[in-house]
């Protein structure tokens, strides 16, 4: 008795059947390196640009994540069920922990200079003075 896998020899494998295309992998890796370089450059952008910097960083992070998952992990070409399984995990994690962060008032500006710092301690008011009795 022989199995399908045993009867299949390397000669039966066509290049188009291979999961990963080496040339495309180089292109994806080059794009990842460029995006990472851009990410690092944002660290030296002026402090006043922090809103633009944060949005840019999040967008580049999502692009890099998607590129690795789609091409290196082969999700773009693999079975749809695998993609759904992984995306379900990501969405579940995001929903749960965005909920946790909201419950912990992460998004509320505490009024301090730095976002999410603990609020300043309010000075204890002096005790009320009594009017002198005559």
């Amino acid at each position: 008795m022989t199995t399908i896998a045993e009867t299949e020899t390397p000669a039966d494998v066509h290049p188009e059947d291979l999961h990963h295309d080496t040339g495309r992998s180089w292109q994806v890796a080059a794009a990842l390196f460029v995006l990472t370089g851009l990410e690092v450059s944002t660290y030296f952008w002026p402090h006043g640009w922090h809103r633009v910097t944060h949005v840019t960083l999040i967008v580049m992070m999502v692009l890099k994540f998607a590129a690795v998952a789609a091409f290196f992990m082969h999700l773009k070409f693999d079975h749809t069920m695998l993609r759904r399984l992984f995306v379900f995990g990501i969405i579940l994690a995001m929903v749960v922990f965005l909920g946790v962060l909201s419950a912990m008032t992460f998004w509320v500006n505490s009024g301090t200079t730095d976002f999410n710092n603990a609020p300043h301690e309010r000075p204890i008011p002096p005790p009320p003075t009594r009017a002198p009795t005559s």
Binding site: A29, E39, Y43, L82, I90, A93, M94, L101
Partner: protein, 232 residues
């Protein structure tokens, strides 16, 4: 119609014309294990399910770090002397260029892992060993960088129990480092199996599955690098 049914019946009977005692049930079981109703092997499905659940683990650790990263606290060195002010945070002591170099190393290791999977699928054992070794080596360089970074932080007075901010930081990055270390060990096991000739072409999916784990470790670092190190 009746002829067609008879032919099908004959064909089915013909499938069992091999003597019962000569059927290799153990081998059949192995083959049947790969024939799932979804067309995906159980091992691969299991790895993807595991990776989906890992999203929750790292989501919890990243959320905890976000909550506590700016919380003030007294910072002492290992001798117990106060070395930091209330607003002196571990995030202000990051060496971004050093960590960026580590990030490039981990990204490069993902590329070499892709080459290892391609070599396994092409039954190219020498290249498979080369790329498995290179990937494990790059992973080891990343871990070495993390150990150096942690050592530098401890010397500056940022220990695991200094305050909640440092605890959250070391837990998150430490858990990632443990994942990388486990990945290196799995790569070395694959390399040893290949050197012993026990990683045939029929088991190339094992390389792909461990590659999935390695790429996942890389995507987690992509998130950590942005959220922990780059967003001020």
């Amino acid at each position: 119609m009746a002829d067609t049914a008879d032919t099908a019946l004959t064909a089915n009977v013909g499938a069992f014309d091999e003597p019962f005692h000569q059927i290799d049930f153990a081998h059949e079981g192995v083959a049947a294990g790969h024939q799932t109703s979804t067309g995906i092997s159980n091992e691969k499905l299991g790895m993807w399910t595991f990776l989906g659940s890992e999203c929750l683990l790292f989501g919890a650790l990243i959320s905890t770090y976000l909550l506590y990263k700016n919380r003030p606290g007294t910072i002492t060195n290992v001798a117990g002397e106060v070395v930091g002010q209330v607003h002196d945070r571990i995030s202000e002591h990051f060496d971004i260029l050093f960590t960026s170099a580590s990030s490039f190393v981990l990204l490069a290791s993902s590329l070499t892992m892709v080459f290892a999977v391609v070599a396994a699928q092409r039954n190219d054992a020498p290249r498979l060993r080369l790329w498995l070794g290179t990937t494990a080596g790059l992973g080891a360089v990343f871990i070495g960088g993390q150990v150096y970074e942690f050592t530098a932080f401890v010397r500056e007075g940022f220990g695991f129990t200094t305050n909640v901010s440092t605890s959250a930081f070391f837990t998150l990055t430490g858990f990632h480092g443990v994942h990388v270390t486990i990945g290196i060990l799995m790569l070395l096991v694959l390399l040893a199996l290949s050197l012993k000739g026990r990683l045939p072409f029929t088991k190339s999916e094992s390389v792909e599955i461990i590659g999935l784990y390695w790429h996942f470790v890389d995507v987690v670092w992509i998130v950590i690098f942005t959220i922990v190190y780059l967003i001020k």
